[in-house]
Symmetry: C2
Subunit: 420 residues, 2 copies
Amino acid sequence: MKLIKGNFIYSIDKDNIEIKENQYLLVKNGKAEEFYSEVPEKLKDVEVEDYKENIIIPGLVDLHIHAPQYAFRGMGMDMQLLDWLNTYAFREEGKYSDLEYAKKQYSKFVEDVKNSATTRLSIFATLHKDATIMLMDLLEEAGINAYVGKVNMDRNSPEFLTEGMMESKEATIEWLEQTKDRYKNIKPILTPRFIPSCTDDLMQEIEYINQTYNIPVQSHLSENQSEIEWVAQLHPDTNNYAEAYDKYNLFGKENKTIMAHCVHCPDEELDLIKRNNVIVAHCPQSNTNLTSGIAPIKKMLAMGIDVGLGSDIAGGSSLSIFRAMSDAVQVSKLREAMTGEADQILTLSEVFFLATKGGGNFFGNVGSFEQGYEFDAVVLNDESFGDNSNFTFKERLERIIYLSDDRNIVAKYVAGNKVI
Amino acid sequence: MKLIKGNFIYSIDKDNIEIKENQYLLVKNGKAEEFYSEVPEKLKDVEVEDYKENIIIPGLVDLHIHAPQYAFRGMGMDMQLLDWLNTYAFREEGKYSDLEYAKKQYSKFVEDVKNSATTRLSIFATLHKDATIMLMDLLEEAGINAYVGKVNMDRNSPEFLTEGMMESKEATIEWLEQTKDRYKNIKPILTPRFIPSCTDDLMQEIEYINQTYNIPVQSHLSENQSEIEWVAQLHPDTNNYAEAYDKYNLFGKENKTIMAHCVHCPDEELDLIKRNNVIVAHCPQSNTNLTSGIAPIKKMLAMGIDVGLGSDIAGGSSLSIFRAMSDAVQVSKLREAMTGEADQILTLSEVFFLATKGGGNFFGNVGSFEQGYEFDAVVLNDESFGDNSNFTFKERLERIIYLSDDRNIVAKYVAGNKVI
């Protein structure tokens, strides 16, 4: 048990932000228990961490990120998806067959994640089993909580970055067996790269593995028009891209599933996302950098679709989910300005929700300070922005979203454990 | 005289980046003189500043920024232009009648500018003469080079932030007289806030002052549809917004003139911009935050219009012109994605040019390391991004644009003087 003191800001739902000014939060067994204005008699021996004037928010959640692409983030920003994959992403990922290279690059990635405001992630590694396990080890050691996926890909990929179908299946099973019970905070997630990278046979094998091991799924959906046309050619029996996952039972329902992007989903695809309880990872910076477009997030929220945010390193160049929040607001404004459609603009409250409780929902009771939620928290000092004395907490939160970097982070907790 | 050693990257024109790897640049009387691969015999006694593996680029130019809005940057990002002006901008600017308040806020602004990669700015102060002079003093002291404008506004503004017409005229003349010969690096610029803020009589007085004192002009143009309609109502005799400046001879030709935004210029307005040699300050983040839209920069460049970049604090929340560069690329991609028009996407080379030589042109021979250019330079260490050993200089430059912050700045020069 401990008491954390400070100014707490968190989401109740997408339209409501709760502010607990200068209060004590009792954290018990790594979970938020109760707020107090003063320390009650029964808790007077409990240790207090006093963060004074600082602001404490739930840890941020990154629902979509490619760890092996971190090494070249911010490069090749003049290409669209399929060209960019071939020129930059695949070439870099190929290097992760070399464990020494993987260790060097993944260590830098994990160090920077640790120093960021992100506490939970769902990560694409590469197809390499051993490098994927190394990444999982490094994340566990850093105290981060994450789903990590060994990628499956057995077609339409360069020779140096492709598996045989059986090889992919076997490596995936070995990976699951080797990592079973190995971690406290790291879990595996099935990761067929995207439909064009996986043969029908491989998709069947992944379906079988999914039924056997009962683990969640992540992939990409309707990011780019050329990609969507390609999927339609590969699966002429489907009505939309989502059905190409759904026909192998890898699209929600019993399987918790993250689908990244969803920029160009037709209405029937959005309906399927909703019906199957798939969560959308909105990656505004990546969708901008790769000229994919602007996802209709406001429409998804109105439909009751679950949405979180993703950095999508290295389609996105910034690891920061604060940046993803401001990007999400900004591109939603440009969607409204450029299409003339009304009600496209995301509010501060909505993006704060997406980055915390919205994405956190994929991990259980995560992303809020309501009772029973795992205590993921970031303590932020905003003095570097200038005099804040006349600002409300909501205004200070907005400035943190738009202006902060890792220097503003005073402390960070993951499920009650102090990580920095 | 001194010799600066390092890896120099600079623009020749919008399509060509020059790289001088591991060379010495002779700087003489504050100007770039000549590059050498080795120190020639005749210069062997000249002091060498060796920046080793670091990258040296021209100082960045911010063509449009409101200094008094820095204090609330990153707030109120859920409003459009005219509402935002009334709720946030005008209220804050009103406080600058208090010199103590002005000193506190302007000191923070100038400190952050000093620590940024920006070496030249064109700044809006407020209508307050004394606070404007204080800002000029602080900038001079910090070694920054800037145009600063006392704002003129005598209508459509809140009572606490408006002048009488004669009051505005007299304060402007006093300001010009008091600051004459006062600075080495700071110059005045006439700053009618925008057409809706200035009566016809005041515009005539500003025209008269301009003819008397022969100083440049800055203002806003065609940022937002409501604003454009308003200007059309105020000046029913004009064919477009630009003509409302041009009829008072405050739109280029003999007067060097910056017009910020230019998001929604009709073709005839773009023609007038080109004909009169007005330079456009493109402010992508502000145009996004205020849901103004995406300016057609690629079209302007094709027409031969001069363009630079602006942070437009606090419509923009970031002071960084690196951020303005990546924002400019990003919104140009969304312009292409959302309109379907071809050839909208700005290249790395183009935005690097806009941020250096493009905007620098307004200040004379500024923004390049070609012979005779004033030596404005930023020395950048990019080691924090990870291992760069396999990247080209152009790739390293791209990463600096997307990833750097003030921690990456090792040194900065303005017209040959080391500022940090």
